[in-house]
Symmetry: C2
Subunit: 312 residues, 2 copies
């Protein structure tokens, strides 16, 4: 792995923790190293463009590090948007992109609207079934804004497995029903849902349908694996398919107008109540606190990461 | 209105009823005529391109018929995808597009992946607030498939106002909580939710966030009105902003592979249970029944539509 790639990958892990998403930041770093050691992630692989037409490209991730592949492909979608107004890159044969929100922030930092999603291993029952067969397929949307970007980063399950484990470890119930228990009843118990793997999709049948079509688009545009094809060969999650889309509003002119329209939406939202936030607002506050007071890290995770120093 | 435009508009209304979505088909036709009579919809207006860069265009709907404007802009997004791989059209100053799913079917019929959404008047409370301030902003995604297209057509509220009224008229409770009653308790009573206008967004905070970013993108790319700007001037819903995106997978080659990947996802989904369907599957069955047995129309709606014949 080149020093440049290592630095970018490390920054993406560290930024996730600094932004308050340790589950896909430092907490996941030991698993990332384990995937490298077991040959699932090829640290020397770099993604390459395998088909191209105008603003649309298909890339092969060659099983390289998922966060580097995703960062490269969003970067390319942004470049394509600069020259075509809109650009899209579909990426096959990649690995877990860690924190999806990173690529929404990346697009917004470049002044473009970014939309990206990934498929996953089967970890969510489709509506009407009881076993995990579709993915929770995170969807990320970034909108640039001078006063703080708006970045939505949401999975298709009401709670991610990371959120379930955080609630369980704290002894907390979920704020709303998150899935089914062993008796098939809706429950707020994170441990019961972890046991059944019967997570609820957002909006019940709606999130289930959205998960399916996101998987279809990622698979057909990238030529990669669908969710149902991800685990049969290896138990670990590897070989995901992803899509990165960027729109460059500056190509249509009138950026002042663009900026003010987003600001007016934020202002209106803030007037509705003290607890109403735009997506990404809390992230920015957490980042600012991390930068001034230091990044919170679980002591056990810090020890695990330090222990890796002797191995690599 | 030209004969050609009238025929297309009529077909879009009739198709919605034939596909089992009468709420945005014939049932809405009397309101459409009323909007024309009150000058909110200008039947003689045709949309025009006001800014263009590569595969991205901004159109002005000039307050013309919403279904014709949307059909024209999806058509243009498809043309752009044919020449740029990916194409996107942002449409400002339009009117209600009636059944959003129509434009997903349109893209899929053309063999491309289509994604489109609209903003709406404020009709949904953002998460953390109690009054309607964001839109239920329907999102439509169409994926072409020889054996029957996959088309998702979903609003950001768990139930649309149309679904609430259908349940109320049938004396049915909602299958899951759909919003809050006057005491601020979650309820399955459609009438109580209609009174409070406190509908639940899909996935609670998640659907609320998705609604906000869809509004932002539609507004900033089109240069049109945001949800919070739609009703202050006129009580009716007029002047929406919309986005139409198309990806042409054939530009990347290997269409056989594309088709088979989507088929494999459908097959896997069908294996999970007898009640598991892909988005659009039920629509296709309804369409086939309508074509063989006739389209179901509420007698009162049929009378109302016939009564309009004397007025136009």
């Amino acid at each position: 792995m080149s020093a440049e790639c290592a630095e970018l990958s490390a920054r993406l892990f560290a930024d996730a923790s600094a932004d308050g998403v340790p589950s896909h930041g430092l907490n996941r770093f030991p698993l990332f190293v384990s995937c490298i050691e077991r040959g699932l992630v090829d640290v020397s692989a770099t993604p390459e463009c395998v088909a191209s037409f105008g603003g649309l490209e298909r890339w092969d991730g060659r099983r390289g590090p998922g966060n580097l592949n995703a960062h490269r492909c969003m970067d390319r979608a942004i470049e394509l948007a600069r020259t075509h107004g809109v650009g899209a890159v579909a990426l096959a044969h990649t690995n877990h992109w860690m924190r999806g929100g990173a690529y929404g922030w990346q697009a917004a930092d470049a002044g473009v609207v970014g939309i990206c999603w990934t498929n996953t291993l089967p970890n969510l029952p489709p509506w009407g079934a009881t076993s995990p067969r579709i993915g929770n397929n995170p969807l990320v949307i970034g909108v640039p804004r001078a006063g703080g970007h708006v970045v939505l980063d949401m999975a298709m399950s009401q709670f991610s497995y990371g959120a379930l484990s955080v609630h369980r470890m704290r002894g907390q119930e979920l704020p709303v029903d998150g899935g089914y228990d062993e008796q098939g009843r809706l429950t707020r118990s994170p441990a019961a849902i972890e046991r059944t793997q019967r997570l609820l999709p957002i909006g019940y049948w709606k999130g289930s349908g959205l998960s399916v079509v996101l998987d279809m688009i990622a698979t057909l545009l990238s030529g990669g694996q669908a969710t149902h094809e991800i685990t049969p060969v290896v138990a670990d999650e590897t070989g995901q398919s992803q899509v990165f889309v960027a729109f460059d509003p500056s190509t249509l002119g009138a950026m002042d107008e663009v900026n003010s329209s987003v600001d007016r939406i934020v202002e209106d939202l803030h007037q509705t109540g003290a607890d109403v936030r735009y997506p990404g607002e809390r992230t920015l506050a957490t980042r600012q606190r991390s930068m001034s007071e230091g990044v919170e890290v679980e002591p056990s995770i810090w020890e695990a990461v330090r222990a890796l120093l002797g191995r690599v």
